[in-house]
């Protein structure tokens, strides 16, 4: 089973990139990513640029509508994700709880829809 782990946190409360907190957070992420790579759970993942850089796209009646900003204005913003392979939800939830951002933000765990393997 594949699961997408969506990492949400409050961007405005994030530590400054020059602060020791930020460095510690980066190290925690590097260590965690290495761990789930070694345990063969990691399929992919990235940190995202801030929600302020987001653009939303909708096509209505053939016209493309662009909006500056994320899909929804929320207290916590999507800041990154991991795509993992796990035996079941319990394993996925266990991995999600180990994401450093779970300590201050929120992780949403979504099972990936299994597409039929076509030739």
């Amino acid at each position: 089973m594949q699961y997408l782990l969506l990492i949400y946190s409050n961007e405005s409360a994030a530590p400054d990139t020059a602060s020791p907190q930020f460095t510690a957070g980066m190290k925690a992420y590097t260590d965690f990513t290495k761990e789930i790579k070694e345990s063969k759970n990691l399929l992919g993942g990235n940190r995202l640029q801030s929600a302020a850089t987001a653009t939303t796209v909708r096509v209505r009646d053939g016209k493309t509508l662009l909006t500056d900003g994320p899909f929804a204005e929320t207290a916590e913003q999507l800041g990154g994700y991991y795509l993992i392979e796990a035996a079941n939800l319990d394993e996925a939830l266990g991995i999600a709880a180990r994401i450093p951002g779970a300590q201050w933000g929120t992780i949403e765990v979504r099972p990936v829809y299994p597409m039929q393997q076509s030739a």
Partner: protein
């Protein structure tokens, strides 16, 4: 006269249904399919057993027949195959499609392991909403119909049906495992199971609205689940303590309301009518839960409090000092404003109404029980004892406005009428 075959099959259904279903869910990995195949297997049993007689292992027979039916459908029906690709794979891996079970040699049926604990942990998985856990537990482990569950929780049948569809879909699509959790998470997961069972009990014990105060069915089902947990997880104290707690509450069922359906307070109940067998079983369960180290976990403490009430021969014999001390402990283990309220009442019994009112005033100032009718009701009762009838009236009125069901309102109105009546002296 021996009972008829259909009666005997009916008894087997009642006794073995949840265990058969648990095994089939484990095999077929689908709640609805497992139930459908079980129904078909029972239908087939009625036909076949009328000729061959009831087999020596009826449960194993039903499980095997249901599995055979599923495999048979899998081989014949392409739509069915597409709908259950996991089942198809499982069967192929096991090589069972080539080797269907032979019904004539039922002695060779394996004794399928008891899968009910796996089923309980799946139904009460913390990734499922609480109301979904309750509904699924009642549907699968207790065999209540969707209509019955809907009626018990006062929601339309359609709503309950959708809730059950959604929860089964989440289990399948998010791959919630069908397993007993590993040792390191067992305690936390068991706690979620106990919360769900107790929720079923309390829903039965106090209807949240409407006319009936007690919905016996839910209490009975919760106690049955409690007994099942005690038998399946024998080395843990919490299931035994929860069962004891439910048994103590349930022992008073007949005396909690009078013939008119009105509430009778604990101190006014006819203690000779309390169910002795339930109390004795509760005492026994509590003893087994408290052997070993003196552990003060939530259900153990609550059961100890309930035991003091259940074993006091008359209200005056109640050990309020011990009860107040236990509420103090409970506050540390499982803090809640309702525990604070109960502790205040115990202190009032121990040291007098003023001591209780002081605590209740603190609680009122905190605003944490602003919607709870029992706070002003408790205040009214203590004010009444102090002879402050005017304040008591004010508090009874406040309690009546917050009461959740008709018996509570009737009870509080009766107290209000009594305290307002000038002919009664305190």
């Amino acid at each position: 006269m021996p009972s008829s075959l259909s009666e005997q099959v009916g008894r087997i259904y009642t006794d073995e249904r949840d265990r058969i279903l648990a095994t089939l869910i484990g095999m077929l990995r689908d709640f609805d399919l497992a139930e459908e195949m079980m129904q078909e297997a029972f239908a087939r049993a009625l036909l076949q057993w009328s000729e061959s007689g009831i087999p020596s292992k009826p449960r194993a027979w039903i499980v095997s027949a249901a599995r055979y039916k599923a495999i048979d459908r899998l081989r014949r029906d392409a739509v069915f195959r597409a709908k259950f690709p996991d089942l198809q794979r499982t069967v192929e891996r096991a090589g069972e499609a080539e080797n269907p079970l032979v019904f004539e040699t039922e002695e060779t049926f394996p004794d399928f392991p008891d899968d009910r604990l796996r089923l309980i942990f799946t139904c009460c998985h913390p990734a499922l909403a609480t109301e979904a856990q309750v509904a699924l537990t009642l549907r699968t482990l207790c065999g209540l119909t969707t209509e019955e569950i809907a009626r018990a929780f006062l929601v339309p049948t359609q709503t309950m049906a959708q809730r059950l569809v959604r929860v089964k879909r989440k289990i399948a699509e998010a791959a919630i495992p069908y397993s007993v959790p590993p040792a390191e998470t067992l305690a936390a997961r068991l706690d979620a199971v106990l919360v769900t069972v107790y929720l079923i009990f309390t829903a039965g014990y106090t209807a949240s609205s409407g006319e009936a105060l007690i919905r016996t069915d839910l209490c009975g089902e919760a106690i049955r689940l409690g007994r099942l947990l005690v038998s399946l997880v024998p080395n843990q104290s919490e299931p035994a303590a929860l069962l004891a707690l439910m048994l103590f509450h349930d022992s008073r069922r007949a005396t909690r309301t009078d013939v008119a359906g009105d509430i009778v307070l604990l101190e006014d109940q006819d203690r000779s009518q309390w169910n002795r067998a339930s109390i004795e079983e509760g005492v026994e369960m509590l003893r087994s839960a408290t052997t070993g180290e003196a552990n003060g976990s939530r259900y153990v403490i609550e059961a100890q409090i309930a035991a003091i009430h259940a074993t006091a021969s008359r209200p005056q014999a109640t050990d309020w000092a011990r009860i107040a001390a236990l509420y103090g402990e409970l506050k540390r283990v499982a803090p809640s404003p309702v525990v604070d309220l109960n502790e205040a009442v115990a202190l009032a019994m121990l040291r007098g109404p003023e001591a209780g009112l002081e605590r209740l005033a603190e609680l009122e100032r905190s605003g944490r029980l602003a919607e709870y009718h029992l706070l002003p009701a408790a205040q009214a009762r203590l004010l009444e004892k102090l002879g402050d009838r005017q304040s008591a009236v004010v508090h009874y009125r406040r309690a009546i406005a917050l009461a959740r069901n008709d018996p509570e309102r009737r009870f509080l109105n009766a107290r209000l009428a009594k305290v307002s009546s000038p002919s009664v002296f305190y």
